[in-house]
Symmetry: C2
Subunit: 218 residues, 2 copies
DNA sequence: GTCTATAACCTGATAGAC
DNA sequence: GTCTATCAGGTTATAGAC
């Protein structure tokens, strides 16, 4: 085994892997610790040793999953701004930095999008607060960039708009297998690049059509 | 009590009311039967008598909630088509028939939208299949109308588009209290009429901007 | 139809040996 | 760090009296 990737991962990571997959497909309350430890091939007491409780494990799974994604989004936005050398980004560029990492992640790990869906389906005040904090800085960063790109739109409308698009993307990806079954080979979710470019033109055109913009100054 | 509305509802309905509220705020697995029967002020054994099991109760709650809504959507579409007297409906009219009943329901009962969110939780379950059947006829009906309204767009794209908008609406409504807290009085969710008209212009403009339409004939 | 009592089961957590 | 054994609590479902 030595240097090959068949080297056994540490217990803690194996638990996280198993929990991520099971939480995604069955939900938190729907998956007993027993199943997690069986899938991870570790002893049932290991969860309580490495994490403190099941709730803490849930938080750890989300943190491992979402923190890098948000970092990547902000990195992309920083890079775009640096490349623009002081010029204001377009709405298209802002949306790209927001959703490109998401679509890229989607190609290799479909669990994470199901975990997002779980946030809607299993409200847990502690988890909810945790996620909110995890997202706060990123959301504010993109809100500011979007506001510079579209100064005529109120921040409230931009906030709403970003969340609307986010909800649409999540829902579409979660239910993408339905589209795929119904229209084989024609699902946008199967071609992430096309999905992203459609999303960006869809989202920007939609925002520009809204009444607050119609009655904009200048 | 006699004729007043304080007349006690039948046990079966009281259970459905309590279950709807608790499922919405806590999820299925998150709410024990005990809490439902306590809120409904009925004996715990009544659930098993009136419904057969907890799973059957879940289905009953969804059926009572979504069936009338879908009927109303189709009724509105029928009426619009009748009023058009053979002419083809616009995309705007189709979207209005689809989302107007939803926004109207939202004003009086906010539980139902949370119940939609809960559906993301158990993808493979009996509930998922049940809901799919409940929606199938309605979705096909609107898909046909949308295809007549926008013959240049493929059915696969229209299917995707409708679901994307649906996801955006659900997400926005579920998280509407966030927008409300952050921007008091400015949340579109607080004014359902504005929400609906914005949604319709947003959705149609977005669809018309998409690449398949850009390269449309005529 | 409604209630009490209880069965049968599963859950997360921990103590303590190795 | 890992395991076995077990606890304490909560869950759905049902049998049987009223």
């Amino acid at each position: 085994m030595s240097l090959l990737q068949t080297t056994t991962k540490p217990t803690r990571e194996r638990i996280l892997d198993a929990a991520e997959a099971l939480f995604a497909t069955r939900g938190f309350r729907g998956t007993p610790l027993k199943e997690i430890t069986e899938l991870a091939d570790v002893n049932i007491a290991a969860v309580n040793y490495h994490f403190r409780s099941k709730d803490a494990l849930v938080l750890a799974v989300y943190e491992r999953c979402f923190h890098p994604l948000n970092e990547e989004r902000m990195l992309l936005l920083n890079q775009a701004e640096a490349a623009a050398a002081g010029a204001i980004l377009t709405l298209e560029q802002v949306l790209n930095a927001l959703f490109e990492p998401m679509m890229r992640t989607w190609q290799t790990n479909r669990n994470f999008i199901l975990l997002v869906g779980r946030l809607q389906s299993e409200p847990d005040s502690q988890l909810d607060l945790f996620i909110r904090n995890l997202y706060a800085a990123m959301i504010q960063r993109f809100l500011d960039a979007a506001h510079r790109a579209a100064p005529d739109v109120s921040e409230a409308d931009l906030f709403f708009w970003i969340h609307f698009l986010f909800g649409g993307v999540v829902y579409s990806l979660i239910n993408s297998q339905d589209v795929g079954k119904r229209y084989p080979g024609q699902s946008l979710s199967e071609t992430p690049d096309a999905f992203l470019s459609n999303l960006i033109s869809f989202g920007t055109a939609g925002l520009r059509s809204r009444s607050p913009l119609k009655s904009s100054r200048s």
